[in-house]
């Protein structure tokens, strides 16, 4: 099954073909379940004018926040971008554009992109700034807005384990946007904690089937915690 072995050994190979002005879809929620090494390598590559689709934009100095340092991102599509001073500055300067998208709509847009559904109706955002300029249609007397799918030139994904064929499982809430991102990239690159042999993962427990995955790289993860909250009392 040589043709299905998707493991690459360097970040150069993993991100080969990524160039200026491309759209990159990134998995992760806050700093949880983000492809740390892939993001760091995009910084090293120095590609510019990226559109990045991700629920958040990391924090100053970590995660996608790294790509703000050299102004590599020209547009973010996100639901919440409040954790980042550099982001604020570039936004106010007009160096960075942001398309705020409701979190559920964002997840569904990625899923739709991967699933060949060019657009869908949702009540989310109707009558709000999000609905402005969008097609409205009533179903059963309730108004809905038409939202379009998102696809990316690249998708960068963080999984817990993947087998060499690209079948992935995610750990706890580090799953989040990763499975949808994986379906929506022309080239999908998965950075994992552990690469296993095909057959190791139970077929019915696979979160992302290998068909969506083009390249797999073993990463090292800091897994920085954004808000460490610990139980106050004995539990």
């Amino acid at each position: 099954m040589a043709g299905f072995n998707k493991v690459v050994n360097t970040y150069e190979e993993a991100l080969s073909g990524l160039s200026d002005s491309m759209t990159v879809i990134a998995g992760g929620f806050g700093l949880c379940g983000i492809p740390e090494g892939l993001i760091a390598h995009i910084k090293t590559m120095g590609v510019k004018d990226l559109t990045v689709v991700s629920n958040n934009c990391g924090v100053d100095g970590f995660g996608l926040g790294l790509l703000l340092e050299d102004k590599q991102i020209s547009k973010m599509v996100s639901s919440y971008v409040g954790e980042n001073a550099l982001f604020e500055k570039q936004l106010l300067n007009g160096e960075l554009e942001v398309e705020l998208t409701p979190q559920g709509t964002l997840a569904e847009k990625m899923r739709a992109g991967g699933a060949g559904i060019p657009a869908f109706y949702t009540a989310t955002g109707y009558g709000t700034p999000v609905g402005e300029g969008k097609e409205v249609k009533e179903f059963d007397g309730r108004p809905y807005i038409l939202e379009h799918a998102i696809t990316g030139d690249f998708a960068i994904v963080k999984a817990w384990k993947a087998d060499k064929f690209g079948n992935c499982v995610f750990r706890h809430t580090a799953q989040n946007f990763n499975p949808m991102a994986a379906t929506a990239g022309k080239i999908t690159v998965v950075e994992v904690e552990e690469i296993v042999e095909p057959g190791t993962l139970s077929p019915s427990e696979i979160h992302t089937p290998g068909i969506y995955v083009n390249r797999i790289i073993k990463g090292e993860f800091e897994k920085r915690i954004e808000r460490r909250v610990v139980a106050k009392e004995d539990v």
């Binding site: 919440y80 997840a107 109707y126 610990v230």
Partner: protein, 218 residues
């Protein structure tokens, strides 16, 4: 006396029924989890992909891969399930979550809510709030009755950009419990020691006051 944040949360928790699935926003709504009556159980949905959100972890339990929608470290309860963001919002948008509790800057007599954006201030984003107000079967807004300048937050029409339209049916403030019905706020309960006059004074939108208004019971 106006309620404290914890008292508002306590009153919110009285709304829950045994077996409810509930999504709690950041702030006062989250506190409500501490006051769920002992004879019922509710399951908390965290929109980053966790149904059955538990307490905060001990130092030993802290796990970077286990967070809630507020990005705080958290645990899962027995019988929890974990899933991706599309599934999480399918659940929310599809009306499977029984209750959403969230804060707001303003609500109005049409059931509209403004909670995410103040023009001129930096906009951080709506996160999952627009999906939640569009999808949950019952939405409870918790907030103070007036802003820090004393201006009413219960309006004839919201002035700020909206989070959702025609979706708010119940409001719990530091002064009162109100429903939204047919273009008016209807006073359901008042906080202990708060007069109907004070509530009238601080409610800018049309307010209907029934003959008999109960006092909240804790």
């Amino acid at each position: 006396m106006a309620l404290t944040r914890d008292q508002i949360a306590m009153r919110v928790a009285q709304e829950f029924k045994d077996g409810d699935y509930v999504n709690l926003g950041i702030g006062i709504p989250t506190l409500a989890a501490n006051y769920v009556p002992g004879d019922i159980s509710v399951m908390l949905q965290s929109e980053n992909g966790l149904l059955g959100m538990g307490r905060y972890p001990t130092e030993a339990e802290v796990d970077a891969d286990m967070i809630n929608a507020g990005k705080e470290t958290v645990t899962a309860t027995t019988g929890a399930s974990i899933f991706n963001s599309a599934e999480s919002f399918a659940m929310i948008r599809g009306g499977h979550v029984d209750f959403t509790v969230l804060g707001a800057f303003e609500v109005d007599v049409s059931g509209n809510i403004a909670s995410w954006m103040i023009p001129g201030k930096l906009v951080k984003g709506m996160g999952g709030a627009m999906d939640l107000v569009a999808g949950a079967k019952n939405i409870i807004v918790t907030m103070t009755h007036t802003d820090k300048h004393g201006n009413s937050k219960l309006l004839p029409a919201c002035t700020l950009p909206l989070t959702g339209v025609n979706c708010i049916t119940r409001i719990i403030t530091d002064l009162a419990v109100l429903s939204v019905e047919d273009g008016a706020f209807v006073l359901q309960e008042k906080a202990p020691g708060v007069s109907v006059e004070e509530i009238k004074e601080k409610t800018l939108g049309k307010l209907i006051v029934p003959d008999d208004v109960a006092e909240m019971v804790f």
